[in-house]
């Protein structure tokens, strides 16, 4: 295997032999098609005209005043579909169309990636089937209805823990059986090579825009940037264009009930191993059985993480910190009330970590938070958990 398949010792291609042909084909198509002019023009059209890019980089006056530094939000919440997931879904959907594959399968946890895949399928004329754990289908009934309205078929997964991890297992099994006419539109920077690199490249539009926008507004690069990390696609999309610069990078993981209880803080509390095709940090027992993760936010509720994040953790290039359910909930309300922006619970983890690191910054230092999605989907859940102050 070429070294491109690895991030240090992480990544690789740990899949059944039956998938190797499909991964080779995808890798070749990815390298030949994505840089081509035809693909880039189509992609530009879909991102700008259809999805609404570039998303704003909003200077937050109230938060800046409160945190005593210059705070910006990257507004992926304003992207069509309400989250960054669409960048990748459109990219891979378009690639599938170029490859002549007319059937898309996807997995989803909270339903955000499933909805993005359904949107991309409808826009691009591809048939879409989305694997979703039965527990998640119950918790996220609204997104199930959205996917169905968009013309996608939602396939219930009742094996294992009936959540995201099992939906990925089932999607991989489908792909093994139907590799010839099917593209697996994976939702994050996880899975076997080339998925972690490919999904990252479709998401780096976030970081590239930030770079241009912040230079226009401030005439220089930020001092610190924060993003939440489940699989890690919004974070790597934000961080990657800044890896060579003197910008401090922070990843907020799902601390759940705290690291001594149930959580999803893979990089903070896990150990390297193999899951879903790549070697990366995992939450597992002493014998290598994968344990169930927990987070208040379904999008961070995953016992693995993208392999490039494992590499960046070991290198010390990105600092990863856990944010508990309670802290995320507090920051969900904080951003809503301070700025009038209701964040997704996932993104609320990034806001919480930003509030933790802000005291280390000076008054003129620039802090950028990736607001990866909007919080409409979480309103009912949060309302049920908080005590309203009159």
């Amino acid at each position: 295997m070429t070294s491109a398949a690895r991030f240090g010792q992480y990544g690789g291609r740990f899949v059944p032999e039956t998938l190797m042909g499909a991964l080779e084909e995808l890798d070749e198509a990815y390298r030949a098609i994505v840089p081509s002019e035809g693909f880039r023009k189509e992609m530009e059209y879909y991102l700008q005209e259809y999805a609404g890019r570039a998303t704003p980089l909003t200077f937050c006056r109230n938060m800046s005043h409160d945190l005593c530094c210059r705070v910006y939000l990257k507004r992926e919440d304003l992207l069509h579909s309400g989250a960054h997931k669409l960048n990748n879904a459109l990219g891979q959907g378009l690639l599938a169309r170029f490859m002549g594959k007319r059937r898309i399968i996807a997995e989803t946890g909270a339903g955000q990636h499933g909805v993005a895949a359904a949107i991309a399928g409808a826009a691009l004329g591809l048939s879409v089937e989305v694997y979703m754990g039965t527990d998640d289908m119950e918790r996220q009934a609204l997104n199930v209805a959205r996917m169905q309205m968009l013309g996608a078929e939602v396939v219930p997964v009742s094996s294992g823990s009936r959540t995201l991890k099992d939906a990925i297992n089932e999607a991989l099994r489908d792909w093994v059986a139907n590799v010839r006419d099917t593209h697996y539109l994976i939702g994050s920077v996880v899975g076997p090579h080339p998925f972690p690199s490919m999904v990252r490249d479709f998401q780096t539009v976030i970081g590239r825009e930030i770079r241009q926008q912040i230079v226009e507004k401030e005439g220089r690069l930020p001092d610190a940037m924060v993003a939440c990390v489940g699989g890690g696609s919004n974070a790597i999309g934000m961080f990657h264009p800044f890896l060579e610069d003197a910008v401090r990078l922070y990843g907020a993981e799902a601390g759940g009930e705290g690291l001594s209880g149930r959580h999803g803080a893979t990089l903070c509390a896990g150990r390297p191993g193999v899951l879903h095709g790549s070697y990366t940090y995992l939450i597992q027992d002493a014998f290598g059985q994968i344990l169930e993760s927990h987070s208040i936010s379904a999008g961070l509720d995953y016992p693995g993480v993208g392999p490039e994040h494992s590499f960046l953790r070991d290198e010390g290039r990105v600092i990863y910190r856990p944010v508990t359910d309670a802290e995320a909930l507090d920051s969900f309300l904080y951003l809503s009330r301070t700025e009038g922006i209701i964040p997704a619970l996932e993104s609320a983890h990034a806001v919480a970590l930003a509030r933790v690191i802000a005291p280390d910054l000076g008054r003129d230092d620039i802090l950028v938070i990736n607001l990866s999605g909007r919080g409409d989907k979480d309103v009912a859940q949060v309302a049920a958990r908080i005590e309203w102050c009159p």
Binding site: G12, F14, P16, E17, M20, R173, R271, G288
Partner: protein
């Protein structure tokens, strides 16, 4: 370890094609597994594939998934796998394969896993999610420990990769005979039969199809196509699942099924197939 492995000797003994039967370690429980291994061996299986379950078995269909989940919730661990292999080895000289997933091997330490496998009496190890490109450390550890590293090919494997796999594998080549996960299929795919012939032209290693093989008809088709053995998995694991509350009936059903398969693979010369349950 020196000399020829138990697996290679079994293929060379002329009783080809061999019947390789599969079981999930710890399903329905540890003691049940020890008994099932003995029943399969006495019923005429030529080799046993013992599956060490993993929480996320992406290569497996529902039957083996459910068996693995039962075993794990009954307390199966990698430590107990090696005790199981040791116990089976004490009673039988049958060649034993361990089948598992990469993370189970990696978390024990790749070298240590193969050393423990060899010490317990296993003869080969096959790892479902380790293709030849990732297999280097696994094959090295296997050779060091004196265990055969068994690798997969599929009808979609390119000629270049096929040659690479043949050069790295030992014991036999595991041909994935059905596109998709493990589980019972109705038909034998003609492309698999063609692929079998093609692989046999390129290597002296025995070639053994697995995945989807469950009936005497399947076995006759592969025997006709030149297979050196066949692996029957989900059909046997399914019997264990179906009869898990009734051990005597399970043993009877397993013996009967193995005898039928065995007749198809061309060894009707069995006297004591029906061991009293």
């Amino acid at each position: 370890m020196t000399g020829i492995s138990r697996i290679t000797r079994a293929f060379e003994s002329g009783k080809s094609p061999l019947l390789i039967t599969c079981m999930v370690a710890g399903d329905p429980d540890y003691a049940g597994s020890v008994r099932i291994a003995r029943v399969l061996a006495r019923a005429g299986a030529d080799m046993l594939e013992v599956v060490m379950p993993f929480s996320d078995p992406v290569a497996d269909g529902p039957v083996i998934q459910e068996a693995g989940a039962r075993a794990l919730s009954a307390g199966m661990t990698t430590d107990r796998l090696f005790s199981l292999i040791r116990e089976v080895r004490e009673h039988s000289a049958i060649p034993l394969l361990i089948m598992t997933y990469a993370n189970i091997v990696i978390q024990r330490g790749v070298d240590r896993f193969y050393q423990d496998a060899a010490r317990a009496g296993a003869d080969g190890v096959v790892v479902a999610d380790v293709p030849v490109e990732e297999a280097g450390p696994f094959c090295d550890a296997a050779r060091e420990a004196g265990v055969d590293p068994i690798l997969f090919v599929s009808p979609d494997t390119s000629p270049e990769r096929l040659d690479f796999i043949i050069s790295q594998g030992k014991g036999f080549i595991y041909l994935v005979a059905a596109r998709g996960v493990t589980g019972v299929r109705e038909e034998v795919a003609p492309e698999t039969l063609a692929c079998l012939g093609n692989i046999k032209k390129r290597t002296k290693l025995p070639v053994v199809p697995g995945f989807g093989i469950s009936t005497p008809e399947h076995i006759r088709a592969y025997t006709w196509a030149g297979a050196d053995g066949v692996i029957v998995g989900s059909a046997i694991v399914g019997i264990v699942g179906e009869f898990r509350e009734w051990p005597a009936e399970m043993d009877y059903a397993l013996q009967k099924f193995v005898k039928e398969l065995k007749t198809a693979s061309g060894h009707p010369d069995l006297e004591e197939v029906f061991v009293q349950p």
